[in-house]
Amino acid sequence: MKKIFLVIALVVALSLLIGTSSTLLAQAKQPYKIGFIVPLTGYLSWLGEYMKRGAEVQVEMINKAGGVNGRPLELVTYDDQSSPETATRHAQRLISGDKVVAIMGTGTAVVSGAVSSVANKSKVPAVIQSGYALSEKETFTFNNAHPTDFAISRPMMYFQKRGINQIALLMPIGPLGELGSGIARKHAPSFKITILGEEKFDVKAPDVTTQLAKLRTLNPQAIMAFTTGEPAALLARNMAQMGMNIPLVVSHGNATPGFLKLVAQTPTMVIVPSGKIMAVETLADKDPVKKVVVEFNKAYQAKYGEPGNYYSGQQADAVSLIAEGLKVTKSDDPVKLRDAIENTKGFAGNNGVYNMSPTDHQGTRMEDMILLTVKDGKWAVLE
């Protein structure tokens, strides 16, 4: 009888031991949680879908290769509904509730700016992707999108080469248009470009031929419009209707399959600044970006049946930058992680080669951008 008790006691003790050791094992393998705020609904939802796919593909790639410091990455994803208020709430929840090591995500200056401000208040690193201009005080935020300055000066560089020196601006009413206009005026002189005139338009208007007719009286050699999606496509369509055979530059937000579909049948020459991921076949083999993009595209293709695009690649880079930082610090400490990301040097991503520093939290150069145009219903590289 006693023997039986002894056996039972032994079994219980053993199983307890195994139990605790397996939890110990799990603790060692506890994932790094990365908070991910993304617009899955609302007016930015077209963007959110690409961002989400890019992040998930990259996390899977890293985890398949053994994770970071032997620990897998885990995304904690929340939908910000394209609203800064919701994004703020989710950022707070990610930090205090989910205890993430870093936050990333979300589109447009306003929404990602809200995330940045929460991250800096709580001193948790954030890697955002938008046209948001970082201030010096936001020491915990990185923005791995190509800066708006590059997206506007890159096409100007092309214009200068082509002898185009008189252009007109057609900007959307609102902060984005103000931003585009200001940056265009700032950079135009350095490329010897004269801005003949400027018109504004309502992005919801069903027709913009009025503004185009006014600009046409100035005889510009090209039109620059810092706008994305349907309004950008409508401009191209209205220019074709009026027989205006001059190039139309739109924002770098348009390098998506959705936008390509909208302008595929339009004869107007549309120029979209973008990242190298959109034209991987044109890259030289020695370009460090090529290897990254090819691998990312392969994984993306396997999962979604299409190659990655500008937005999914950009989001994947945010994951890589955080992962690289974790690899260097080997700790969960947010200040150390911030310092590690800030010291990223020569790190090749889909968007270019990142060289971060305390004064540069964006990391890429203007030469990391390329110019796309539409040929026979497909993207083609300009120049």
């Binding site: 007016y43 939802s45 077209w46 879908e49 009413i173 018109e199 504004k200 338009f201 309502d202 919801k204 208007a205 069903p206 027709d207 913009v208 031929t209 009025t210 503004q211 185009l212 007719a213 006014k214 046409r216 009286t217 999606g229 349907e230 496509a233 409508l234 209707q241 009026m242 027989g243 959705g258 579909k261 909208l262 049948q265």
Partner: protein, 293 residues
């Protein structure tokens, strides 16, 4: 002599935008005439019609067949909405009904998102061909289609509501439910028909203007707002007034943008609305006095 082609282009631009507002306003007025209700889901019927047609055309159906089928789909949807959502609360007051139409609008927008996704879709113009050039300005041929279809719709509506027993009966229901039912008119039948009509015309508006725009699940909001303004300027229940006000709105917008600044176009449009509401609260083209039934 200065080049004045841009002044003509302003007019064409106004006609293009105006055609979108006018057709939307017509569909709002029709619902109002038969149910004395401003239906906030009209923008969504507009989208459902256009996107159904996009799908049918992409499946290889000829344009006219796709057009007719899409109107039919929207009419069935409208009838269904009336039977399931409106009828149970129809005696609870106009306020509840309007809130219900807002709820329907949101529900339909959500459903459209699930069915057609977040992407924008393109519908080819009804007739191929180059833009029409006049004095150096250009107009898309689709705008002529919109005008033609608008006139046709006006004719059909007029014939239906003035010349057929069913049409007269429907107007009677709107005027006086009890009186109409005492005369042996089925008010329920009239209500379901009026929703089918409203949804059908909303869808028709969407399909006809879709080639000018890009269509996605949220595309109904702008035309709904502008259509509502045109409807208010034109007199809530006047179909001809809605058409004229719609085109006027577009033209005023275009010349404001062209001659003053695009930043003022909304301000001026709403200023006109306020002035009209002050001077003629029932709208520029409203028929005053009691309506004869």
């Amino acid at each position: 002599m200065g080049d004045f082609s841009h002044l003509v282009q302003f007019l064409f631009s106004g006609l293009t935008s105006g055609s979108v507002y006018a057709l939307m306003a017509v569909s709002l007025v029709i619902v109002y005439k038969v149910s004395l209700l401003i239906c906030f889901a009209q923008g969504e019927f507009f989208v459902v019609g256009a996107l159904t047609m996009v799908t049918l055309v992409s499946k290889g159906l000829p344009m006219p067949v796709a057009f007719a089928l899409s109107v039919l789909v929207a009419m069935v949807l409208g009838a269904l909405v009336e039977r399931v959502l409106i009828r149970p609360i129809q005696h609870t007051g106009v306020g509840n009904l309007i809130v219900m139409t807002i709820a329907i609008s949101l529900a339909l927008r959500g459903s459209a998102l699930l069915i057609w996704g977040k992407e924008s879709h393109i519908l080819a113009p009804f007739s191929a061909g180059k833009p029409i050039a006049v004095l150096g300005a250009t107009l898309q041929p689709q705008v002529l289609w919109i005008m033609g279809i608008t006139i046709l719709v006006l004719l059909v509506i007029w014939l239906f509501f003035e010349k057929t027993t069913l049409g007269v009966a429907m107007r009677a229901c709107a005027e006086n439910q009890l009186g109409a039912s005492l005369m042996g008119i089925s008010t329920q039948k009239a209500a379901i028909l009026s929703w089918a009509w409203g949804a059908g015309i909303g869808a028709l508006a969407g399909m006809t203007v879709a080639p000018l725009l890009f269509m996605q699940y949220g595309s109904g909001v702008m035309p709904m707002v502008k259509g509502f303004v045109a409807m208010s300027i034109g007199g809530l229940a006047s179909i001809a007034g809605a058409v004229i006000a719609g085109f006027l709105l577009g033209i005023v917008e275009a010349y404001t943008i062209g001659l003053i600044s695009s930043q003022f176009s909304d301000t001026i449009v709403f200023a006109i609305l306020i002035i009209v509401l002050f001077i003629r609260p029932s709208g520029l083209f409203a028929t005053t006095g009691r309506r004869e039934v």
